[in-house]
């Protein structure tokens, strides 16, 4: 192999090594956890749903919980019933002891829950 191809080869190897070096991650391993909680995301999605709608929750939304929504229903009561039924189904799957409760009906949060906050049960 002549001088020029050797130099080219060397340059290619050097470039590849540099590229590989650049590709190494500096810093801690892994993906940073999200800063928004699942419940915050669910609440944002819920607000965009068409009425009548309801959101039911069981468990601790800062830990293990289940939720279910219903939307596009003829009345708030129908939406609440449907959300509760779906939530109960999921609650049994996840073996959460406390029962499902309505967190919101249409855009209203029931008075006993902290307005704008999340239930902690």
């Amino acid at each position: 192999m002549g001088r020029f191809p050797s130099a080219c080869l060397l340059a290619l190897v050097a470039a590849a090594a540099a590229l590989m070096g650049c590709l190494r991650t500096v810093g801690p391993m892994g993906i940073p956890l999200r800063t928004t909680s699942r419940f915050e995301a669910e609440w944002t999605s819920y607000l965009a749903l068409p009425p009548h709608k309801a959101l039911a929750v069981a468990g601790d939304v800062e830990g293990v919980y289940v939720s279910a929504t219903a939307c596009g229903d003829p009345s708030a009561q129908v939406a609440s019933d449907r959300a509760l039924r779906a939530c109960e189904q999921r609650r049994k799957d996840r073996r959460i002891e406390s029962g499902c409760q309505i967190y919101a009906v249409d855009k209203a949060i029931p008075a006993e829950l902290p307005a704008g906050g999340f239930p902690r049960r």
Partner: protein, 303 residues
């Protein structure tokens, strides 16, 4: 007093072996389902090369490991799990759009390390061959996908399901399905998921009949999202699957992954323990963008 202690010790000593030894018809099976986000580092938010060996090392504690999205780093994960029978899902297949994309990106795939989209299913099932017999893998790609540039770019992977038959130490046979469905909250994504779940249900009916089944993976179904819960429940009811109860325990995880199961003729499956495998998260960082789910099943052979 001394006599009382002696009697108590005798009772405890005689009782312990009975409690500790399971019946010969009964055995336990630990299962891990984990979407490892093993896409190219140019797509991932980090360098998966760094975390993949750790994923493999931690996963090696489980009897049965079902991975999704191990596209580019399969070798690094599998290298940490010696003594495993390894089964991979379907490849890219003959879809003309994927073949064309593969050809177009070939130069990049040659130049860039671990960059080879479009992908196959990205599914791997690893079975601890010291404890379990594994056989008869069946792979099937789904016929529909939603989005190349829009949505969640689902079509860049030929998603599908992988079936592996396992036999436990007590002789119980279980059919294990590993799957990954299309992502996205839109109506088109939901329609595709419905079709994919229909194809999975048809596959379970055709390949497994009434036999015991574990079906796990990234279903991309958010139970709380209108429509998704119904999709999942319809699928479960059609093939008679229960939910193991495994789910995310940190409040930041989205609920997308499930471990479903059913018993079959001569085999019962019960859940001893299920949840999030917390060892894959530490110090506000995780080894993937999904929660790792685990279940410890008790499998019993019944006459």
């Amino acid at each position: 007093m001394t006599a009382c202690i002696a009697v108590l010790c005798a009772v405890l000593l005689s009782a312990q072996p009975c409690g500790a030894q399971p019946s010969p018809d009964e055995t336990s099976l630990s299962v891990l389902s984990y979407n490892v986000h093993g896409v190219s580092r140019f797509i991932a938010k980090d360098n998966p090369r760094d975390r993949s060996p750790t994923i493999g090392w931690l996963a090696s504690r489980y009897d049965l490991v079902l991975l999704q999205e191990d596209f580019e780093y399969h070798d690094l994960i599998a290298a940490q799990m010696p003594g495993r029978a390894t089964f991979r899902g379907n490849g890219v297949g003959r879809d003309l759009r994927r073949v064309a994309a593969k050809a177009l990106l070939f130069p990049a795939a040659v130049l860039l390390p671990r960059f080879s989209p479009p992908y196959g299913a990205g599914l791997t099932t690893l079975v601890d061959a010291r404890k379990l017999e594994a056989s008869d893998p069946q792979r099937q790609p789904y016929t529909a996908c939603n989005g190349w540039m829009r949505g969640r770019a689902n079509c860049w992977a030929a998603k599908g399901f992988l079936r592996v038959r396992i036999r436990l130490s007590n002789g119980a046979a279980v059919e294990v399905y590993n799957t990954h469905l299309d992502a996205g909250p839109g109506e088109r994504s939901k329609a595709v998921r419905r079709q994919q779940l229909d194809e999975l249900a048809e596959g379970i009916e055709r390949l497994s009949g009434e036999r015991a089944v574990i079906a796990a993976g990234d279903f991309n179904c958010a139970f709380g999202r209108p429509g998704d819960g119904d999709l999942l429940m319809s699928f479960r009811e059609r093939v008679g699957l229960d939910d193991s109860g495994a789910g995310p325990e940190l409040p930041v995880w989205r609920e997308r992954d499930y471990v479903l199961y059913r018993g079959g003729p001569g085999v019962t499956l019960a859940v001893d323990e299920a949840g999030e495998a917390g060892e894959f998260v530490s110090d506000r960082r995780a080894l993937s963008d999904h929660a790792a789910l685990f279940v410890r099943f008790r499998a019993r052979v019944v006459p």
